[in-house]
Symmetry: C2
């Protein structure tokens, strides 16, 4: 029964990394400190305060006065909780599909027995609202429409107000993935009339992965409470979760104490910085990155007017070895960038600038590393120009 | 958008607690240190090592050479993953029911459309194997039998070998909840022929809540891969999870980095101590606690020969105010003990001695506090006798 790990009784370590992929992003040191505290019981009055703090700060970050809580799982758990709690078997749902994670939503909704109508549009462009309009004219008794605010597979920022208005005209619920955008981009659940939005702790919120913050309308809550059948998932049942997080405090599961302490701290940091200031920071760093990438001759997947500030997929130049470049970045500079997913596997790199990873120093560091590494992959660049182009953005006013 | 929390920019803190409830238990300081490290990507070679370490150490702790991984959720997610991955709608499952968490399993299995045959027996006693034998004679084509090794609602240790043998005779899968026992009590998945066992990070393993370690047989894996239908849950689909954790490394979700670093460290500490030594420690502290409680005149729910070492439910004496006693322990001594669940709500206290909480100092501290507090709740005790009784156990050999 001997084991080979940690013979020195020191902790097992991992190397420091600059995380510029699709997430996890860097975690704020204050978040990690908060997570290092002792355990506390899930019914302890001091822990109830932690939960209440998370609820009230999430309301500010989501732009809602309605309902918020954090699900004890990653962003995909937030996706599944919404679909399985809001849809009953046989319910008709129209899904706007324009990337890898949209397809995941289709898979999940089919598993719970919903009647899924996927409306597929091109990857790499915003979803055209006319397609939804047409679908809503064609299909009656639609229970929900779904969309993704920031598709990390393509880097497209999806305008939500027109889609929401169409959903409302047809009196259906509107569910939105804000995994990549929350905390780095405006998300206003109430004004955009979103009925269910979910996100993740490890992107623009600056905490480790493991929690899925969600916001949902009173209308959604009523829908959930009026279901004819219990949701197929007990663990992700939003009705039970809302009773655990709400005044009833009905025991559901043992809350992940450290993760919630971290999330509370992260939300506090987000609000300390200020939402507007934070969005501006993400915008400026993305602009600097894109200027630099363009100076390298690389092309972003998303058109300029629809580009996400949080993640920037770029086309890998003809003949350049995807794995070689990402491998050298990791080995020599300890920088992680993301690879392509689904249809874009092997064709794009995805560069994330989210939360604590959205920093000037990392933008400059990555561009400098690319100037050095790309020629070794057979792609010539004019050294210094990318860093210089990015630096000019930071010198503007 | 002003917010009121953390105006001093220091981290928000929680009070130190001695956790002697049903979990979370205390976390080992080395685990908390490991969790404080920087983030790392889920495809980083150094993170793959973390996952592989967890898999190989879990095999030792679960006593199996077959399959292990850790689910990104709490123990209940482990419960749901097993039920929803191993059962298809209409599949017949016999559930041995003898406590609160057994009833949770019934609820979950019904939600996924299984044909559930609950065999209910008395709370507070081991489940009689004759009842399972009879049920297996009555019902044909049973796909699975379920049981719980340590029911925390009652504190009963359930012998598993006889139940497993009956399941095997009927060629059905055998699924077991080891949430409370893993790491504090012998669990040998291979020898006991368990097809699916799940646990939780925050009890006898000494990590924070948020991960559900699981072990499953090759037979289970084949069953999952041969399903006619996809499991209703995508997030908890054991087939997808086994491909993510296995050699294929097919991206599923963003792994909760900090929690996995913590779990790796916790497992390493468990193996450093040695499984046998760890079981002995749990046994000795439980014996000391029970001697002390008996000196106070309190009676354990479980009969002596079936008593769990991990959690000790005791009957609240007639006329004593449950909330008052637990409240005073928390306020004055910062000790948490658990309250009763379900049928036992208001009737029992549940005292946990699990993982890092299973320590001599906490046993003595709690008994001393009880000697002081119980008289204030109208229950007279001979001060000093409980601590003395426990101390004698520690003086043996």
């Amino acid at each position: 029964m001997a084991h080979e790990i940690n013979r020195d009784r020191g902790i097992s370590t991992i190397p420091p990394r600059i995380l510029m992929g699709p997430g996890p992003s860097m975690a704020h040191p204050r978040v990690l400190q908060a997570m290092m505290q002792n355990m506390i019981g899930y019914l302890d009055p001091d822990f109830i305060t932690v939960m209440d703090d998370v609820v009230s700060m999430l309301k500010k970050v989501f732009g809602t006065t309605q309902n918020t809580l954090a699900i004890s799982g990653t962003g995909s758990a937030g996706m599944e909780s919404g679909l399985s709690s809001l849809l009953e078997p046989g319910d008709r749902v129209i899904m706007c599909v324009y990337g890898f994670f949209c397809e995941r939503m289709v898979d999940m909704a089919e598993r719970i027995g919903a009647e899924v109508i996927p409306i597929r549009a091109d990857w790499g462009k915003p979803f055209p609202e006319e397609l939804l309009e047409k679908a809503l004219r064609t299909h009656t008794d639609v229970k929900m429409v779904t969309a993704i605010h920031g598709e990390t597979s393509t880097g497209v920022s999806q305008p939500l107000e027109a889609l929401s208005a169409l959903a409302k005209q047809s009196e259906t619920l509107f569910m939105v993935d804000t995994v990549t955008t929350l905390g780095g981009n405006e998300v206003t659940v109430d004004r955009w009339e979103i009925d269910y939005a979910y996100s993740a702790s490890q992107k623009c919120l600056g905490a480790p992965p493991g929690m899925a913050p969600v916001a949902f309308s009173d209308k959604s809550l009523n829908r959930i409470r009026d279901r004819d059948t219990k949701p197929s998932s007990w663990y992700l049942d939003l009705n039970l979760l809302s009773k655990y997080w709400g005044e009833e405090r009905v025991y559901h599961h043992t809350a992940p104490v450290s993760m919630l302490l971290g999330l509370r701290e992260a939300l506090s940091i987000v609000l300390d910085e200020g939402l507007k200031e934070r969005y501006e920071r993400h915008k400026k760093n993305a602009r600097a990155l894109v200027q630099g990438l363009q100076a390298l001759g690389l092309k972003t997947v998303a058109p300029e007017e629809s580009r996400l500030d949080q993640i920037t997929p770029v086309w890998i130049p003809e003949g350049v070895d995807d794995d070689l470049v990402r491998g050298l970045l990791l080995e020599e500079d300890s920088i992680e960038i993301g690879k392509g997913l689904g249809d874009f596997a092997g064709r794009v790199w995805r560069i994330g600038l989210m939360g604590e990873s959205s920093k000037k120093e990392y933008v400059l560091m990555l561009l400098s590393a690319m100037e050095r590494i790309l020629p070794r992959a057979g792609y010539e660049v004019a050294v210094g120009e990318a860093v210089s182009a990015a630096s000019r953005v930071y010198s503007e006013d």
